[in-house]
């Protein structure tokens, strides 16, 4: 066996190290001179990776994608910005977008080529959502938009001799009371009262809007104590909870996803949630007892109006590869591929809608939606969608979170409706 001297060992190790460094440098040069960083929260990361790969191959991109858990996504992006890291294109939710813009993390998009054409294609209500607080600048492109809808369990209604889904809230409560009384269902009504930002408060907005009420005034102040429609909605919620029409555990569900899974069991008659959840409820027989298409959508009761919102792609204000970042952002949130590639993927794979009405004429979309929803009715519902501007206020995220507890107290009857509504107003004033 040959021996190796210390000098020889150190010399070889040094050469090996130098080789590794040089090889890495060479590889970097071979890859690209302008890599682009893209981050999003975790939602179907394999789908995202697929279209990033598609973009890199077809459009010569050098996009590096990273998925970050939802719970820590926005704080991670802020701490990274704090440490000087530049992520060129980022997801951003509505509650944090204005804050990112006001603090210089993301840039306005109006001056970038092709933005004017895109604006013309976006539905007007959603276009407002893309603008900053004073409405002067577009600061994001749409990742997806969604609307609250009413879903019903058709076999259960038929079993109980109910011929058509409820058109009014009174009718819905009446039907649920009958279903409980007849022991068809223990808890026939499943509103999305979960404890996350996508649950109780969007549901609150939807039901208030359906009563014709305003929640915020033109200056984004909370005015629920002055609106009879809000009081009506809350009295109805209290009544439904007190009568045992609702599964009480929905208040501690931690996401809308967990909430909608309850409806899979087929033991509820009515469910209100984001539209895209009907895709798994009515379209995935391997998961849901209400598939295929045993769960259906009905127009929202009352005046039909519900809450609609958009989530966004944003471009970093400090990006050093603005042209590439914008090109990629348009691929994601616009029509960079010429065939709504990314938007279409989300519609087909997850039922996530977007604010480009012309895309819904595409035969592939029509065929896909037909498996789980009445697309015409869904588009009609979108026409009645109402957005809010208050999410652009710096206090909104904290208000939106803390208001859940106040509304839960109203639902459970530990606070009266007038007292609870006054608390919501006081909460907003204390944060503004």
């Amino acid at each position: 066996m040959s021996t190796i001297s210390r000098r020889k060992f150190l010399g070889s190790a040094g050469l090996l190290g130098a080789g590794a460094v040089l090889a890495d440098g060479a590889r970097r040069r071979a890859r690209a001179d302008k890599p682009l960083n893209f981050s999003g929260w975790v939602f179907k990361p394999d789908t995202v990776k697929d279209y990033v790969d598609f973009y890199n191959k077809k459009h010569g991109g050098q996009v590096k994608y990273e998925a970050i858990p939802w719970a820590s996504y926005h704080s991670t992006m802020e701490t990274r910005a704090f440490a000087g890291e530049v992520v060129d294109v980022m997801y951003c939710n509505s509650a944090n977008r204005e804050r990112w813009f006001e603090n210089g993390l993301i840039r306005a998009l109006d001056d970038l080529p092709g933005m004017d054409e895109l604006k013309k294609k976006i539905a007007p209500a959603s276009l407002d959502s893309l603008k900053n607080r004073d409405g002067s600048k577009i600061i994001g492109l749409p990742y997806f938009n969604s609307i609250f809808i009413l879903m019903y369990n058709e076999p259960m209604l038929q079993q109980a001799g109910i011929k058509a889904p409820a058109r009014t809230w009174d009718e819905l409560i009446e039907q649920c009371t009958k279903l409980k009384r007849d022991k068809v269902s223990d808890t026939p009504y499943l509103p999305n009262w979960n404890n996350s930002a996508s649950g109780t408060m969007p549901q609150f907005l939807s039901d208030c809007f359906s009563e014709g009420a305003n929640v915020f005034d033109a200056k984004n102040h909370v005015i629920v104590d002055q609106e009879p429609g809000v009081a009506r909605a809350m009295e109805r919620w209290q009544k439904a909870y007190a009568a045992g029409l609702v599964n009480p555990e929905v208040l501690t569900k931690t996401s809308s996803t967990d909430t909608h899974r309850l409806f899979w069991s087929g033991r509820y008659a009515y469910h209100t949630n984001h539209s895209y959840y009907l895709r798994t409820i009515a379209g995935e027989p391997e998961n849901s007892k209400l598939a295929p298409k045993k769960a259906k959508m009905a127009m929202y009761p009352g005046n039909g109006q519900t809450h609609m919102f958009t989530e966004f792609y944003t471009v970093n204000a400090k990006t050093k590869v603005l042209d590439d970042a914008w090109k990629f952002a348009k691929f994601l949130g616009g029509n960079g591929n010429g065939d709504w590639y990314v938007q279409r993927q989300w519609c087909l794979i997850a039922g996530l809608d977007n604010p480009y009405p012309e895309m819904y004429d595409h035969p592939e979309i029509i065929q896909s939606y037909d498996k789980w929803v009445d697309l015409k009715l869904l588009r009609e519902q979108y026409k009645k969608g109402r957005t809010i501007n208050a999410f652009k206020e710096s206090w909104y995220s904290e208000y939106d979170t803390k208001a859940i507890a106040v509304v839960h107290n109203i639902i459970r009857g530990s606070s009266t409706v007038p007292k609870g509504l006054k608390e919501l107003v006081a909460l907003q004033k204390s944060l503004a």
């Binding site: 802020e78 223990d186 899974r261």
Partner: protein, 314 residues
């Protein structure tokens, strides 16, 4: 002390020892002391992570913004918030219930596992499984057991004819809080068992033999031999359980998110939300430093209650 001689620099024994531990002291200072002092500093400032301009500390290319000093404002704001106080009482209930349950269950299991019986090694290994699971997994596992709609426990009870309709374990705030205590106890009691068991096995057999000669029964031996000898371990278990309970966050995140209402909101959850959801790093760190103070206070209390006089006896 350094001495120079013909052979170069000479160190005293103490100096040499310091030299050896210096790298570790520096490393600990960098990864523990600096973040600790910096986060304490943040609790007295108005922090906006996205606005890092202004005065800063800079060393080795790392820049630490100092932000605007606001003195005690964050602490006063926190103490002025009724939500802080309601969360504090809830936290104290959670900590008290958890520490009592985990300590008693840990002690009980250790007493059993300290006896000789067939299958003891297997039992000791199985015992560690709940403790070795990630808390996210623990939360999901218990959702699977307790869920109103899909829970295995409800299914079993219903099939056995013990219940007519499914039980809602998270139906109100107080039961939800107690479910959190029970799940956390299930997760953490094995560690207490492990510590107690190690302590029990270090107690000399001759002490038990002497007690038996004196006519002491099982519980008398436990009260007069085992328990006194376990006082340092008991102190350790109490401190660790208390600190862990004060800081527990992940199960709340998975099981209740602080609801319904604020009924399962503890100080750690409030601090987490304030810091990372509302991006109020100043008040958020202030909230969390009150937890640190509580942990220190409880450690002193336990020291006084459990260990006073022990060292003198030893």
């Amino acid at each position: 002390m350094a001495k120079s001689g013909a052979g170069g620099l000479r160190l005293s024994e103490a100096g040499f020892a310091w030299l050896l531990v210096l790298p570790v002291v520096v490393a600990i200072g960098l990864v523990v002391a600096v973040p600790l002092v910096y986060s304490l500093w943040l609790s007295f400032t108005d922090v906006n992570l996205l606005r890092g301009g202004g005065p800063a500390l800079e060393a080795f290319g790392v820049r630490l913004p100092l932000y605007r000093w606001v003195g005690l404002k964050n602490y006063l704001q926190v103490f002025d918030d009724p939500l802080y106080w309601s969360s504090l009482w809830r936290t104290l209930y959670f900590v008290g219930a958890f520490v009592a349950e985990a300590t008693l269950a840990g002690m009980g299991m250790a007493l059993v596992l300290n006896e000789r019986f067939a299958g003891r090694p297997l039992m000791r290994s199985l015992l560690l499984i709940p403790w070795s699971l990630s808390r996210i997994v623990v939360g999901l596992l218990w959702i699977g057991l307790l869920d109103f709609e899909f829970g295995a426990l409800n299914g079993l009870l219903h099939r056995a004819g013990l219940i007519d309709s499914y039980l809602a374990f998270f139906k109100d705030g107080f039961t939800s809080l107690n479910v959190l205590v029970a799940v956390y106890m299930w997760n953490q009691a094995p560690f207490a068992t492990l510590l107690f068991l190690a302590g029990m096995q270090s107690i000399g057999e001759d002490l038990y033999a002497a007690a038996e000669v004196d006519g002491a029964g099982y519980w008398q031996r436990f009260a007069h031999v085992t328990l006194p000898a376990l006082r340092p371990i008991l102190f350790l278990v109490l401190v660790l359980c208390t600190v862990n309970a004060f800081l527990m966050l992940d199960l709340i995140y998975i099981l209740t998110m602080g609801g319904p209402g604020y009924d399962t909101t503890t100080i750690s959850w409030l601090g987490f939300q304030t810091t990372f959801k509302f991006f109020k790093f100043g008040p958020g760190t202030a909230i969390l430093y009150t937890l640190t103070a509580l942990c220190l206070l409880m450690t002193l209390v336990y020291h006084r209650l459990v260990l006073s006089g022990f060292e003198a006896e030893a």
